[in-house]
Amino acid sequence: MSRALLIARRELRAYFRSPLGAVVIASALLLDGILFYWRSLSQRLLSGEALAEYFWWTSGVTITAALFLSMRLVAEERQTGTFTLLNTSPLREWEIIVGKYISVWCMVLLLTLLSVYMPLLLLVNGKVSFGHIVTGYLGQLLIGGAAAAIGLFASTLTRSQLVSIVVGAAIVVVMLVFWVLAQAIDPPLNKFLAAAALHHANFRPFQFGILELGATAYYLSVAYLFLLGAVKILEARRWR
């Protein structure tokens, strides 16, 4: 695990050295602010509803930011040729993937922490519970973590960062569309698709300040599955 942390530290340093991390976080915060004003403050809503609306919109920003942050993780290494160094170092595939995942998740954490002043405004001036804010942010971190895992998986598939983000976005969109599909098809597959939808049914409890074990387990499972997929792809690359 210490080797994974080493990778994580290296990646975090890379985020802060290059403009990518700062640009993505600044853009996400700008979007969050605009959405907060547009969807929450400029409408006649109760404080709790305004907060729920904020979480709903900002989750989309978190997903997008996580994809942008994770697109470079493996693809860039392959593009610049440094991946051979990683591959020949005494590191196992899962250590590489876990290390890179920790780094991108830390960036998502930083992004969410920097946006916390917006719900705090509602807490000070309105009537919302602190638990609602914490639960909403936990949801943000979970959905951001799942999106980061998808992005990392996509990054292992190709050496182009552009292709990587397109693939990652395609997977996310397909998983978002599951909910729409579930409403149109027959059981039992509709139940499966509804349960597998990345956002709608699973994020809704967090949005309203409800901490649900099922939704939490879902996001952890999605992250685990895509990270496992990324590990398996790296393992397969050793054969080439």
């Binding site: 609602h132 049914a201 309203f208 074990l213």
Partner: protein, 419 residues
Amino acid sequence: MAVESEQAPAPAPKLAGSASAAARGGAPAWTVATYVAGLVLLYLAQRVIVTLDHVSLVLSSIGVALIIAATVVRFLPQFRGQGDRASIEKLFGALSLLGLFGVLVYFISSPTGQDWLGIARLGVKSRERVETLLLISWVTLIAVSVIPMLFAEVALSSMRRAPHLEARRVRAAAASGLALALAAAYCSLFVYAASETKARVDYSYFKTSEPGSSTRKMIESFTEPLKITAFFPEVSDVRMEVSGYLTELVKGVPNVELSLVDRYLEPKLAKDMKVFSDGTIVFTKGETTRTLSVGADMQAARAKLKTLDKDVQEQLYKLLRSRRIAYLTVGHGELNAPSEDEKTKGRSADIVQEIIRTQNYQIRTLGLAQPWAAKCRTTPRSCSCSARPSRSRPRRSSHCSATPTRAGGCSWPWMQTPW
């Protein structure tokens, strides 16, 4: 023999040729494609064009035939291959059989299969348990067979024309696919089990999704069995909200049975309960039913969801207590019949009347011409009250001074407003 085995690899070109032949041997590349095509056809026949019986049957048959054919090809002597290729073919054969077994389990889970095996004759709960088990089994079996097969085929495809076959690479690819398929199955079960625990903590400021304590007490006081049937589409935002509320409401109450059903999947039940639109909740106690319409569209139902607890409480009141009559006296300047002047000052008993109505009372007025005492004596389980605007004790009028009812009702001779 030893000499033969030592001599066998001697001619180098021949070895390369035989290894190449071994790599080219085995089942052709289209076998996996045929297998997957069979599964896709079966899916389309069973899930997409179910309404067209004959087409569905034909497509299902073709799908199953393709799957069986692709499996049989794996075991034909001419496609067995040699050496490493033979072991890869065995792997593909085993995976194909596993998938075929998954298809068999799927057919067992269908209504026809359930009839044959007597599952349809089991009790409701046992049948549901068996159906869930079969559903999980066929999905897992097919995933566990198809994903490794595809992974192995991708690994093998690049070596089909190669002089040497890297069997370990193909096996590793299949193992990766198997690990992913099993992880997906495990994660699905993990999420399902976590969801089924219904473990949740509500930190929201307005707990609209939770039933109030008075509604809980009311539902606990039911001595007769109460059935709550909510008609919502299988996948709906409103269903999730209502389901959370109702589940919380009936938790730990033995006399209450809750069922959430899709109107289109249970047309007979919907017809029996006279439900003609989605988003309807029916409360049934014996022969009496009460219906509450919430709606299935979130935009339309948002307002109703905010008052869901109050509306449910109202319906439960109506089931719990038989309809009663409340007489409000008029003619003494009571607030329940305010003058225009009082109305403009906002002094009326509208809220009191609304509360009385929600307690399943029918409100009737009792004027000077109708001696209320006589009325109350003759009307069983009735009560009367008069809402007076004054702070001072009202003058006793001839019909207000009468004794309260003797037929089980009660009376409030006057009601003082707080201002």
